[in-house]
Amino acid sequence: MNGYEIHLDSLRAKRARLGRKIGQGGIGLLWIVGMSLAIGGGYLYFYDNGPSRLFYLAEGFAIWSIISALWARYDLLVSKPSKKAPTFDNHLTTDLLSSLKAPITPKSAWQAATKAKEGRFITNRLMLPVEEIGNMLGDQEADMGGVWSLCEKLREGQTDPLINAGTLATALLLTSESVKANMNRINLQPEDVEEVHGWLNRLLDYFARPKPYFGGVGRDWAMGFTPNLEHFGQNLSSNIQAGRGHFHFLANLGVVDSLAHNLSQGASSVAIVGPTGVGKTELVNALAERLLSGQEKGLEHYQVHSLNASLILSHEQGSKEKLLLTLFSEAIQAGNIILFLDEAQLFFGNGLGAIDLSQVLLPVLQSRRLKLIAAFTPNDFQRLKVANEALANSMAVININEPSAEDTRKVVEDAALTLEARTGLLITYEAIREAYRLSAQYLSDQAFPGKAINLLDQAVPYATNKVLTDDSVQMAIEKTMGVKPGKANAQEADVLLNLENKIHERMINQTQAVNAVAAALRRVRAGVTNPNRPAGSFLFLGPTGVGKTELARSLANAYFGDSTRMIRLDMSEYQRPDDVARLLEDGGDSAQSLIMSIRKQPFSVVLLDEIEKAHPNILNLMLQLLDEGQLTDAGGRAASFKSAIIITTSNAGSADIIARITAGESMSSFERPLIDKLIQSGQFRPELINRFDDVVLFRPLNQAELTQVAKLMIGEVNKNLSHQNITVSLTDEALNKIAAAGYDPQFGARPMRHLIQRTVEDVIATKILRGEASPGSTIVLDVNDMHLPNKEG
């Protein structure tokens, strides 16, 4: 413990403990008593027409009460370290020093640290069981050497040089092997604890900063009135002055420097270009704060007004231009206004309900009298460049990139505190980590940090007991996107583990294909897939009517309980080059747009039928889809397929399959040669085939399997009749006959459904209408009851 002596009997320690005993409550009480006695004494003075003994007593105690309050507040509670004393207790905050008790062991230090608010910040964010961890820590004084040593290292990143309770709690967690092992079991790593410690320090730094000076009462008296701007916009600077400012930590702070530099050094308008969610609005808020506090020469106390696009666009048609001119003129006249057009594309004719005001804006910008910031996404700015190059060129461009993962986490952590203040919830570190992970995986059409913050916001309704956890975030993404990111519950796990059996309830044979897709779905739910590719991708090869489509439908039905949870596109409808655009449509509600469908249902089975018939450009898109797990729409927004199982089907090579199976060959013996043949014949490109997780061959069904298919279909008929409590049963001979008649060498078992409709269902319908079938009865049909085609007769 060399160099780490803590003297709990030092004067500073004693003062700290006395201050703790008095506390903020005691100080308040001393003030109230002091002031009451002073006023009461004054009253006695006038009542007695002069000083009485009671007056002296009251005033004497009043003065000493106030003196005691001052001493406690400004000395005992702060109790600054002595520069002369070299002992280690001088490196601790007063609050921590006052809580420590001899002997100082890891266990007693943990109790002291978790009593203070900084220590509780660490344990609450990490959802740690305080008492349980206390029991795991050692009770040897000698063990504290390593703890204090780590505390010294941790404080290197702090602005405040003193070690606080949060730093001590962090060091205790990181130096105990048993605690680390226990945290590992709840998926917490040492880096996570350090991350929360950094979060605490940024918060303490923020509170320690002096309040900025925004100019005083006469600041705006030499500037013009802005009644219309107040009505059609929002004064971001006023919000900041009222304490509703931006987050404490901002990524891309250099952009604020560039913005301020551009606006103060000549450029009258600036376009900030970055993807949705990257933090453009927050950076403008940060600029507003900097200008308001008078830090920027040439723009001292300028105010930023954000124009409300929806209010302006809802203005009477034809008068919008006039209104905008009035607003611009007001901003110029006021002399201290910077206008901010958030989602500026709405003012330049792009987007739903947008208007084109570029002709109004261009002369104003070219006159350089109006200071303006316009926020664009890269695609919107590109469109503006194409549509009106002069307007785009009149603005200085600042590009904003997505922040690093480290910066993103910091922004989200600080945003979580703002969310906490708004909602009264406690947001745990796990919730933030999960929001980051899930938004990276599923919200590919937005940028960080905005998408993680939005996800946290959406998770608020799912908080339990006023705490927002990773479960709340998982629930939010499940409800909003239909994906299942959380752990499978017992019932779901049972379905997953028996998925093959569930699928075979609707599907006969094709075991290899069933096993492959079931395993893919299990991998998705267990979270062991490559997060940057689709959950599973398969090419099903085989003749028509052998169950390729049925397998996709069965999979959707078995797992989602609904066969409509399948996105099915017939690729024979996408044979022309311009069909690519139809597939990637980003607006409206087109059923033929793959992008729109996957955005609605990211966690689904995507069935692309007859893939070989699609245009080569679409096959190129498939390469991107299978490689990156995403497609980009016409507007440049990505749509994620990372939670989807992609199934493509093709009849290519089916003649070969039939011939070889008929010749008695096993599927495994000709699988590879068949695929090679398809590549050599140019029907599939090798790069496409190689990108699938598996290429599965479907073989034609034999007679026995066709009879089972017939049985399944009769089962469906019975399901439809169940509400009438009528059952239909076929004799074995009838079933065999239907199986034989329902098979076509070209279409496989596909005609069977139609055959059952014509034979079985029609006969039952007639019997019901004739009153020959009553509730509770079973209709047994033989070959003679059905009018089967002559082929089988």
Binding site: L57, Y213, G218
Partner: protein
Amino acid sequence: MILEFWTWWYGVGWSEVATRVSARVAGVWQLFSVGILFRTLFYPWKRIVSPPAKSFDAIMRGMLDNAVSRFVGLWVRVFAIIAAVFITALTAIFGVLLIILWPVLPALGLFLLVKVVLP
């Protein structure tokens, strides 16, 4: 501990009260933005000015309007500056009194308590 109190009261405590008083006085002065008021003393009130005109009458009327606006601005600012000086001075006087009284307060408290028992 008692020695600690006296050391603080006549050492760090006294200097801290002086620091706080000066910060409070500066805060009040800043609250009235006196620097900005002096800099913009003759500026028109809220930029209410007539637009440039061509005819002699309009120019003369504009000059009169602008002069009125500047006069209003001047008066409001002068009043604000006077208010700032008055309130800052009051704050400073109370602050200086507190600094002067600070070393006497403990003795005054003791004296009053002694007066309870002594005639």
